[in-house]
Symmetry: C2
Subunit: 471 residues, 2 copies
């Protein structure tokens, strides 16, 4: 019996994909970057089936690659090209198991799409704050396995801060039931946090109990033109002082990034007549009767204008206007898919060092590949920027860009490392950032991670080759 026979007889033929046409979707990610060759794809519909599939693979010595919405940016959900790895898709695990509005918790299968998690919370007048550009496709299991970030981290934290408990299928097919709706529980090691962000290398998340928050249907949203990144950082302090914890998003957008959106995203429109170097999308959020939002935003903008931190500003006057402003930010990622090759980088430093980092990096990149386009945007409040690179519009070529990819990456990563930053702030390591991270990481830290990997996955069959380089 091959593992395909085992899986088919245990889960039924409908749960196992083997045809090349069916496998194609699991062989590349949504940006078309990276590629691999699945031995087969297994699509269990319940935790017990995930456990069975993992157990059968474990017994056969076959590696398992968990797959959520396929929207990862570091290759974490792709099999290698050996044709021997089984891709395990969580897409059929899409039950909302329990909604507890009184207790502010929600328990869902791993395959529930993030937008559906948000909708389940909204249906009981609550907020599940995780929000990213891919929320219509990505799954909550993938969000937790990669510790996703997004635009609401500033107020609510990363994905790992939004989870109370997990259910995980372990490397040998046993199930750990850690689905606890408790706010406080000090009974041993925090296994939930260990699985969050481990990218499927320690086990497969099959369900999660999530934290809900009071709904924030009221928003005060502004799109600002800024003279510099320094101004963006200074203005953040001004906004924070006035908005406090109602500050929900503070996103930086470079002119290059805005131009990319204006070129490719239908309906996108520059709110200003003049061109500016930098923009910020600022949003405060609160309860329906929270009448302090608009005055706080106005006061912060007034202070910003007076201190020459803001050059121009437009405040959304309606939900439609708010959406059109958000489109300028949320459209960047999709727009880049239509804009030729894009080398994605996702780095963080302490917030105060951001201006210096960006200035330094720009010079280093120009030295590597003159004319390289910096499509820079990100979550300034978190010290996190997406520093994506594209070929010059006039005369640049994608081939030249790709040929310089390694040197360009080194230029960015070295600048980040010199400032004590992270070369993967929210996208994870997968295979794409794995080696670059290992080269810049204390061997003691790599050793600790390897020890944990060895302890929980002694045969090395859980998403092998991700996060940690092969020895």
């Amino acid at each position: 019996m091959t593992v395909i026979d085992d899986l088919t007889s245990a889960l039924g033929p409908g749960a196992v994909l083997t045809e090349p046409d069916d496998l194609a979707a699991y062989s590349t990610d949504w940006r078309g970057a990276g590629s691999g060759r699945p031995h087969c794809v297994v699509r269990p519909s319940a935790t017990a089936e995930v456990a069975t599939a993992v157990r059968l693979c474990h017994e056969a010595g076959v590696a398992v690659v968990p797959h959520g919405g396929g929207t990862g940016l570091s290759g974490g959900a792709l099999p290698d090209d050996s044709g021997t790895q089984v891709v395990l898709s969580l897409a059929r695990m899409r039950r909302v198991r329990e909604v507890d509005a009184a207790g502010d918790t929600l328990t869902v299968d791993a395959g529930v799409v993030l937008a559906d998690v948000q909708a389940a919370a909204e249906a009981v007048d609550r907020l599940f704050p995780l929000s990213l550009a891919s929320e219509g496709s990505c799954t909550i299991g993938g969000n937790l396995a990669t510790n996703a970030g997004g635009t609401a981290v500033l107020r609510y934290g990363m994905a790992r801060e939004l989870v109370l408990g997990l259910e995980v299928v372990l490397a040998d097919g046993r199930v750990w039931d850690g689905l606890r709706p408790l706010r406080k529980d000090n009974t041993g090691y925090d296994l939930t946090q260990l699985f969050c962000g481990s990218e499927g290398t320690l086990g497969i998340i099959t369900a999660a109990t999530l934290r809900l928050f009071p709904a924030t249907p009221r928003h005060a949203t502004a799109w600002l033109a800024l003279p510099s990144v320094e101004a963006a950082v200074s203005l953040l302090g001004q906004v924070r002082a006035r908005a406090g914890q109602s500050l929900a998003a503070y996103e930086l957008v470079s002119r290059e990034a805005l131009d990319t959106v204006l070129r490719h995203v239908p309906g996108a429109r520059d709110p200003f007549g003049e061109r500016h170097d930098w923009y910020a999308l600022v949003e405060l959020s609160g309860a329906t009767d929270d009448e302090g939002l608009e005055p706080a935003l106005e006061a912060a903008l007034t202070a910003g204008f007076e201190a020459s931190l803001v050059t121009d500003a437009v405040v959304a006057g309606s939900p439609t206007q708010r959406e059109s402003l958000w489109l300028l930010r949320e459209g960047i990622s999709e727009a880049q898919n239509h804009d030729g090759a894009s080398l994605k980088h996702d780095v963080s430093v302490p917030v105060a060092l951001l201006p210096d980092l960006l200035a330094d990096t720009a010079g280093r990149l120009e030295a590597v590949l003159p004319g390289v386009r910096l499509v820079t945007y990100g979550h300034v409040g978190d010290g996190n920027v997406h520093h994506n690179l594209a070929a010059a519009l006039d005369g640049g070529s994608d081939d030249d860009l790709r040929a310089a990819a390694g040197d360009l990456a080194d230029a960015i990563y070295d600048a980040v490392a010199e400032r004590g930053g992270s070369i993967s702030a929210e996208h994870g390591l997968g295979t794409a950032k794995r080696d670059a991270n290992a080269a810049r990481t204390d061997p003691v830290e790599l050793d600790l991670m390897r020890s944990i990997k060895q302890a929980l996955d002694p045969d090395g069959l859980m998403n092998p080759g991700k996060v940690l380089p092969p020895r």
Copy 2:
């Protein structure tokens, strides 16, 4: 050479205590509960010295028991009674290494007393929100190693949520430098969260980079009389709806707990003429110019009176009055030390189940030991109560109480377990709760924890016997 000789020659004679008089303070905890016998006490003054001490113990095959402020409630910092374990005190590690007000971070040695951490934040107009009754004695290293809770969890989270990075001496004496001031960093497993709450069984925390928050010097504080625990839970919703994220504390106090304070704490005074069954201390906090606090508190109390959720109320009119109200809550733990034997329990359930839990537990305890006094108080907003037991004032005896301790604990823990709760919400397991927890924990979960322990401490020398029962 014995390990005492090794330590003395490496760290100097002043760093090693061997005299019985000196060891006494490390042989028992601050409540006088538990007892152990240290082989010696080593007091390093820097990370390199901690590393040397751990390495020497590792080479000698001697167990190491880390010791912070000695205020733990589960015996986690006590050596066993074999006389072979080295207690490693962090008390001389008390440098504030770096304060970064712009970046809202603070880096401190593990031995810095929590009150001094708070003061260092206050000195730059920031808040470090962790706050507990023992803050004048406990150390930040111990707070993180045990994932301390306290009265500000409702707004700011447990200790683990307040830390960005750690420095840890590992079982073999190597140092892991994970002191990163980054808000976002997805480069591998979350080792920081693994060490938080591991009670020194995986390594010794020697320093931490902490998150700071905007200062909240303005408070609106009320002491309320409530008809029932149900009323306390309902009122919490009313307060939350009006105060939002400015709700900083919501503490429940039973009449028994208040009486204990009134009997033993100098200066404590009942704010009301009449006796009531239950009380709550409610506090909103914000910036100096946050003029919404008092109106929000008043509105919540008015709604509470109208819905018969509040029987009486006093709002603090001055900082001194605020302190005198807090004394009634913060004094409980100390008062119990003067009130005869006290069996401490620290449990949590989903908030909505608290009234049912307390009612059920009261009946079960009375059946085990008629007349037993329930000194109940805690953090209602987190679903966490301290359910401490004392002998009846008239006719009860501490001996009878102690004799029934096991059955009383089982009565509480069973009621908690039936509701999916935790038998140690914030005090950790140490040795005191270790076996009771193991008996109620899924073997898969215990196995996972043992695998991690084995991976990071293969010789079992880091605080052995804590958290996990010996095999």
